[in-house]
């Protein structure tokens, strides 16, 4: 079981993450609707895992959130969970030591959170 923070500006998507990961036995300790809020929650709650969307205007996007948290929380496991299918985003996330999954791959997300 992991302590998890989830972040998505789409309330439906956020609710799904909270519900599914909770039912999977994890402790979803925080839910953020923006990048700034995600960074603040992670720094405050020190979770094991962050699941973050990519596009969350007007604040920082998921990759920028990863970049910022890598400096202060290098041990944090991060999954970027987005509808954007762009190879450059995959590479950017991997370079920063984060996983990149497409939304809809719920089973893959569960595996990634367990393995992360």
């Amino acid at each position: 079981m992991s302590r998890i923070v989830v972040a998505d500006n789409d309330v439906d998507a956020l609710d799904l993450l909270v519900l599914d990961l909770g039912l999977e036995g994890h402790d979803v300790v925080g839910a953020a609707e923006s990048g700034e809020e995600a960074v603040a929650l992670c720094e405050a709650l020190r979770p094991d895992v962050l699941v973050v969307d990519y596009r969350m205007p007007p604040g920082p996007n998921g990759i920028e959130v990863v970049r910022r948290l890598r400096r202060t929380m290098p041990e944090l496991r991060i999954v970027v969970y987005s509808n954007y299918q762009d190879a450059r985003l995959h590479e950017a996330a991997q370079r920063l030591g984060a996983a990149y999954l497409h939304k809809g791959q719920l089973a893959a997300l569960r595996r990634a959170v367990r393995a992360a």
Partner: protein, 543 residues
Amino acid sequence: MNTTRRDRLVIGGAVLLVLATAGLVLATVLRAQADGTRALERLQLAQVQQLAKSMDTRMAGVFESFNGIVSAGPAYNVTVRDPVDKGRLDELQSLNPKARTGFFLVNSGGVVTNGTLLRDPSSVGSVYSRPGLDAVLAGTPAILRVGPGITTAQPVIVIAFPLRAPSQKVIGAMLVESDVSVESAFNEEVSQLRSGKTGEFTFVDEAGVVVASSNAALLGKPLDEPVLARGANGFHRAHGQIVVVEPVRAAGWRSVFRQDVDDFEGALTGPLRSALAYVIVAGLLGAGVALVTLARRLRRAREEQRRLEEIAAVREEFISIVSHELRTPVAGMMGFLQTTLDHWEVMTEGERQRAISRAMSSARRLHSLTRDVLDTSSIEAAGMTYTMEDVDLREEISSAVAAERDLRPDRVITLELPESAAWVRCDVDRMRQVVTNLLDNAVKSSPPLSPIGVCVTDDGATVSVSVCDHGPGLSDAELTRVFEKFVRGRTSTSTGTGLGLYISRRLVEAQGGTITAGRGPDGGAVFTVTLPRAAAPAEPVGA
């Protein structure tokens, strides 16, 4: 190579072509000018040569006729005041009663023995001294240089013939004075000659003194002409003038023509320069017009290219937006269904209901998005059909608002309706689609707890439906673009394809109405749909 650089190269090439053509025209005109000038020089030289030749012939004639006069009859006595010689001279003088100058005889010692029209009678018996007289007394007829006369107060030239005894020995000379004046016989012909404004025909004697000229002021004076001093005949250019010199051999004179170069060449170069100026002006105008046209075409081509690039970028963005927007509800729908299936046993009844409800919400969102995309396609393919009927818009708007209230129980939606029926002719489903879209936009663009107002008004000619919110409103730029395709919401967090208002405008306009965007009193957005009012049906609906 980028577009701007290519455009510059094209314009630069055009400029070079124009310059090369202008250079070619200039060279051709200059060559024509040089050829023309040479032809003019030859022509002027030929004219002066002809004039000199004419004067030469005339002088030869004068000598011949005087030779006849002198040789006719017995020899002159050539003694001072000889009455016979005097009688013969008077007889000759009487042949020309209007003559202004006279004759006189000198003996071999140069003493004047007789004369006509002598200004001073004491001249007879005195020695007449004049350069060139010795040669005459040696037997050669000549025209003596310009000098003071003894038969007139004017300077004169003197035609001198030797007189011979029967033995052919020279015993003296007959001298005929001819005044150097405007009226003189020699000057008469020359004075008529004109060439341009500054052209000047002149005859000078051996000493360079003017004996005849088209310029009367020069008569009897030395001609100040450096070319003449050099003694060179032919065509010359000096001190800004052209100078043509040709000898008159019979008289020992020279014919001189002078003219300012500009005046001389003006007859040729003037028209050529004018022609050149016209060609240059016409060329510059033509080139200017061509360059402007070229630049405009290039600019239009660039604008067209930019427009196409923008369209391509918009399409690319559209594809990106639509694919993202479609994936979001699909992911939501699948996610909630999958988590419900996977955790059915552990989920409470309430959790299952909420999850299925969220899946349904995503499905509805997906339906709405696909409908927008398909509607846009139909509108642009002119494939959209409308079922027009007369309806009381109050009922349709009330129904649409009620549906929205059911869907969003957390939002306050107020509704104002006119008291009497507001009849319009429209497609009911499409009009509800428009109003629902405006309500969705108002919900998305305003704070969660702020009310949304819907107001139907009827001014007798039109019926309007306004939807207003208390969100951030629209900027000036947004007001002008909000009904364009792919323009997304008023907040940067807005989601959607950017097609809703575009579709609404097209639907309303297709039904003969208008849709406008504005700002409410508190700065929120107000969208107003206006349709022409229709007459009430003959019988009440449902009666």
